[in-house]
Amino acid sequence: MLDGGIGTEILRRGYTWASHQLKTEPELNLEIHQDYINAGADVITTNTFQLSKRSFRNHFANDKHLAAMGASGLLDRAGELIHESVALADKARSSLGRSNTPIAASITTLEWCFRPDRNPDVEKIYDEYLEELTDYADAGADIFLFETFNSTPEAEVAIKAAKELKMPAWVAFVPYQDGRLLGGQTMAEVVDAMARNEPDVLFLNCAPPEHITAGLEQLAPLWDKPLGVYAHVGKFNPPEWQFTDDYNAEKYLQECKHWHDLGATVIGGCCGTTPEYIKKLTEFFSQ
């Protein structure tokens, strides 16, 4: 059992997520991790979605422009926040006597996750991944969770960097309503690429339950290694989230049962899910 949404949980609890709130509201981060552990999560995830050096750099024309206009230390911020995020997750598990709960480092695409057209040149990003992953490894994360990837080539680079650091690599792709990846690849193409790279768990995530189902129906028959899912519930309302009651915890559980029947054995929640959802899932699946 994974945890559920973190960024959306920060929003639901009344805060903006624009700066992740890692340094500004550490107690809030701590509470959310604790709530997920208490709800039964076997793995907790760092509050670092979209956090990378490139996220800051992307606001400037080039490094010279950044030096002239940017806040001091801007390029060090991602690394500092990554260390902070792992420390907070670690503090949460220790505070509940659950130091053996693994911490998954949440890492997404270098460019915006829902924009496959902006994906970077994969020949040039290995060092960037390695640097980012090294920060998590040094900070004490246990697993790399590459999530909300929209195509396999970038995921392959990420997995390669994870293997260099000799840490487990979990990879989650965004499916679309047609059962393909958001970037257009078929699940057969995904399986083909992943069979060569061997992630420890392969997931579908960050799509509404209907899209997850469409993708899983294609993927599950082709993949015989560990398979996972975590869907979002509600609607993306940039830069925030619209919480809806389309899939309450009970209805989400019904979807998860279906995904479990299709072959998913690692289950959690993406944007919009809360500790209540995870508790509901744990109560059922631990029986």
């Binding site: 624009a18 979605f49 992307n58 206009m69 806040a71 496959p116 309503q177 309302n237 830069p239 619209q242």
Partner: protein, 309 residues
């Protein structure tokens, strides 16, 4: 309707005062940056406009920088993806917010008794991030985008179209063509890079010439630090109306938010008096239009008011 007074001022060689940062004032006043603060805190937006009017601006600017349909759709793969996973009402959200933004500016003009004397400039930003000329789409795409923005602001009743922060000549040219059908005066500001040219490295001098030849009544530089603005000014001054708006403080984008986010740190390092002193230097160089970009506050604009008559 009242833009003629501005035109006369400029022809007479007198200075014209614009407002300062609006987005950065919204965040500085503690408002959460979503939907530009327009839905959560309309009173604060109106207060900011009123503070600039009371500081003595000659033209008021709408709070519409970076407020376009594109800013919403950019978070999704495409329109269909937005329909499927986006919040209800997103496709029409930008138009509604722009309309509200113009209304708030007009209310401030009425409340201060300046509706007849201070024209309202409709601010239109680049299609993509103001500091990312590399993301600017092809000319036809820019043309359609800017035409739609000009259409919205024009139908809401602004008195002039102000393209702010253009960062490449192709988009600038498309924007001016897009605005040509609305029978409104058009101004354009360019973003300089550290070398005093356009942010994408093109000649600012050529860009300014092009803008004037395509109908821009005034050409400004904006969204650069004070040294960058000062360095770039000689490239736009040629006897026609030109202007300057500098940022103060350092741009501090958050760790999550892919588009421009109006947060600047250390703005206290440039006092209103220091900003006015810098502005005096720009006026001495021959600039006639002075305002402030991100980070500047009504106090900075008030200080500039005191040095120009």
């Amino acid at each position: 309707m009242n833009y003629n007074a501005i035109r006369e001022k400029l022809s007479a060689g007198r200075a014209v005062l614009l407002d300062g940062g609006i987005g950065t004032e919204v965040t500085r006043r503690g408002i959460r940056w979503r939907q530009h603060g327009i839905e959560d805190a309309p009173d604060t937006i109106r207060d900011i406009h009123r503070d600039y009017l009371n500081a003595g601006v000659d033209i008021l600017t709408t709070h519409t920088f970076n407020l376009t349909k594109r800013n919403f759709i950019n978070f999704f793969r495409d329109g269909e993806h937005m329909e499927l996973i986006g919040a209800t009402g997103l496709p029409s959200k930008a138009v509604e917010l722009c309309s509200s933004a113009v209304t708030l500016a007009k209310e401030a003009l009425t409340e201060t008794g300046k509706a007849e004397t201070v024209p309202l400039a409709g601010s239109i930003s680049p299609v993509m991030h103001v500091f990312r000329p590399d993301l600017s789409p092809p000319g036809n795409d820019c043309l359609a985008h800017h035409r739609e923005c000009a259409e919205i602001l024009s139908s809401c009743g602004v008195d002039l179209i102000f393209f702010e922060g253009m960062n490449n000549t192709r988009e600038a040219e498309a924007a001016l063509e897009a605005a040509s059908g609305f029978d409104l005066p058009v101004w354009m500001s360019f973003v300089p890079g550290t070398d005093g040219n356009l942010l994408n490295g093109e000649s600012l001098h050529s860009a300014a010439d092009l803008a004037r030849s395509k109908g821009a009544e005034a050409v400004l530089v904006s969204a650069g630090s004070m040294p960058m603005i000062t360095k770039s000014l000689p490239n736009i001054i040629n006897g026609s109306p030109s202007g300057a708006k500098a940022v103060i403080g350092r741009y501090s984008p958050p760790s999550w938010k892919p588009d421009f986010y109006p947060r600047f740190e250390n703005i206290e390092e440039v006092s209103p008096e220091n900003y006015a002193r810098e502005a005096q230097g720009w006026l001495d160089q021959g600039v006639q239009i002075i305002g402030g970009s991100s980070g500047t506050t009504p106090e900075h604009i008030r200080a500039v008011r005191e040095i120009i008559t």
